[in-house]
Amino acid sequence: MSGFEALFAALTPLNLLLALAGVISGTVIGAIPGLTATMAVAVLVPLTFGMPPAPALILMGAIYTGAIYGGAYSAILLNTPGTPSAIATTLDGLVGAIALLTLAPPLSRVALAFGPVEYFWLAIFGLSLISAISEGSLLKGLAGGALGLLISCIGVAEVSADVRLTFGSQTLVAGINVVAALIGLFCIPVLIDLVATPGQHLQVVAEPRGFRLGEAVRVIMQRKFNLLRSSIIGTIVGILPGAGGSVAGIVAYSEARRAARPGEHYGKGEPGGVIASESANNATVGGGFIPTLVLGIPGTPPDAVILGALLVQGMRTGPTLFTDYALIVYTFIWSLLIATILMLPAGLLLGRYAYKSIITLPKALLVPSVAFMTIIGTYAIRNSISDVVIMIVLGVIGWILGRFGFAAAPIVLGLILGPIAEQGFVQAWTIGSAQQDLVGMFFGRPISIAIIAFTVFSLLSPLLMRRWKLKPEVAHVE
């Protein structure tokens, strides 16, 4: 398959229209205060279930790209948010998408050397990383990951048709659908908190005039190194499983602040701050798709939702994805580039004309609309009312757990990685038992040892970082 074949497939009118529609709808939902990019993807992803895989992937990628950018609207609220951030978004999104286009295929060839036990350890590594990076306690993050793994076992077992962990409930026999669980865990807690408090109506003080493209280009060209550095940071952070746009934004912002020139006042409306955080944030989209598509380990929470939707489509992610579904995957990557370019006109127009109405949408309309979308979207996955009930119940459980420091992200990752981890674990266990060398099977293979070492390092790194940070303070106090 030639690269041009996929490019031409991405440029069909339907795919272009889907990319534009995805960018616009993602931007609108992402711009609503209180809603996140993950939520935008989770709420809109059921729309793709009736589509063939390539258009579905294109729509999801475009929604994600738009939602990340839309999130900047209520955050920035300075002048016209559509102008400088749309240009920055377009440029840095291209960096992430190009990284996906160039890095993913060779990495997938490396990943072909992985056996069942390596996949098991890779799933554990992904879990350890997100648990370590996720906010709050490491112990709670790991417990959340284990809970997600256990929830993924609910229903009829693939290997032997045993009915597992249903505790007599017929509703659970069909298992927990990953997308329904993701919608519940990511959307319902947000709704529960949104409904409880009066709307914080944002005051838009500045009255924008025109697109101010020239001014925006000048601002960005003056900070081109900041843009490039932040885009690279965003891409790298996006590649790390579990680390999302917020981590990338913070790292890029602090780097930009550290490298600030005289006269730049970060924290007081300095455009370099917006460029750094938004560039890094948006570059995580392309970067995050690398582990998602190559290894089946989601780079960011929205990637987890997209991964779940791919499973609904019958596509199994992993290294063979680039050979088995080459045309679909490359069409998607090209479309991601196109969606990134479409961000510019969409961002300019929405930022100029629509952002005020989006960010001041009354909560009384927002809550029932989102609740309604979660119900209809979940129902559409398998035409099942049980999925809707499970989605709501899981959402409530997720909200309660979240109140006490058990974040949703590790649970979701456990749910996604559960089948990969179980398949690898059971196969390795069976082979190891047959060879009467279980220890050698799990701990003796070179790639496994390397992944275990990374896992241990990722688990210990927060403790080491804390100790390293504490030392100077202790010395200072003394």
């Binding site: 729309l47 009736g50 709050g136 306690s137 112990l139 709670k140 790991l142 417990a143 284990a146 809970l147 793994l149 256990l150 076992c153 077992a157 290997v159 032997s160 045993d162 597992r164 962990l165 505790f167 319902i188 529960i192 908190d193 409904v195 409880a196 408090t197 709307g199 009354p362 909560k363 009384a364 309309l365 809550v367 029932p368 609309s369 609740a371 309604f372 979308m373 119900i375 209809i376 129902y379 559409a380 035409n383 009312i385 809707v388 009930v389 709501i392 119940v393 409530v396 757990l401 979240g402 109140r403 006490f404 420091g405 058990f406 981890a421 179980e422 674990f425 059971v426 266990w429 069976t430």
Partner: protein, 165 residues
């Protein structure tokens, strides 16, 4: 016990309850795995359940240690949610009722009624004549728009409802 530790331990008591519940779920899961016919079905969930029990017990022990003053209290881990509990509960009840009622009342009627109820639950501002007209109209437009999108364009067989058959 210092005031800080006392305050943290009382505000974080929910952590202990949640950790205990998760531990119980883990124990129930371990017990469940002994009923499976094939060992291959049991090995993974049993291993994970044991891990879950160990981790949640560790959370519980850490909480006890904090309560006894042996460890620093991580005050930032719990989230203090303000706002109306009544509205929170009403939201969940309405959504669950909509899910359970849909097979009987059908998608359209359930969606319109639940949208209206959620609109009232989420309304914190005073109702003005304009809002009384515009908000319900917008709600109906959203419900009908999504009904058309899913039922007619995406061909999702939305429940008609046994009352209307």
């Amino acid at each position: 016990m210092s005031n800080d530790v006392q305050r943290a331990s009382s505000s974080d008591a929910g952590t202990a309850i949640v950790a205990a519940l998760v531990t119980l779920f883990g124990v129930a899961a371990i017990n469940d795995t002994y009923d499976y016919a094939d060992f291959d079905s049991a090995v993974f969930p049993r291993t994970v359940a044991i891990l879950l029990v160990i981790l949640s017990l560790a959370v519980l022990l850490r909480w006890l240690a904090q309560r006894a003053g042996f460890a620093a209290a991580p005050s930032s881990e719990t989230v203090e949610n303000g706002g109306s509990w009544l509205r929170r509960i009403a939201l969940v009840v309405v959504m669950l009722c909509a899910g359970f009622a849909m097979p009987w009342t059908g998608f359209l009627l359930t969606a319109l009624v639940s949208f209206g109820l959620l609109l009232v639950i989420a309304m914190h501002d005073p109702w003005t004549p304009a809002r009384l007209v515009v908000y319900p109209l917008v709600g109906v437009a959203i419900v009908l728009g999504f009904y058309f999108l899913f039922a007619k364009l995406l061909m999702v067989p939305l429940p008609v409802g046994s009352w209307f058959r």
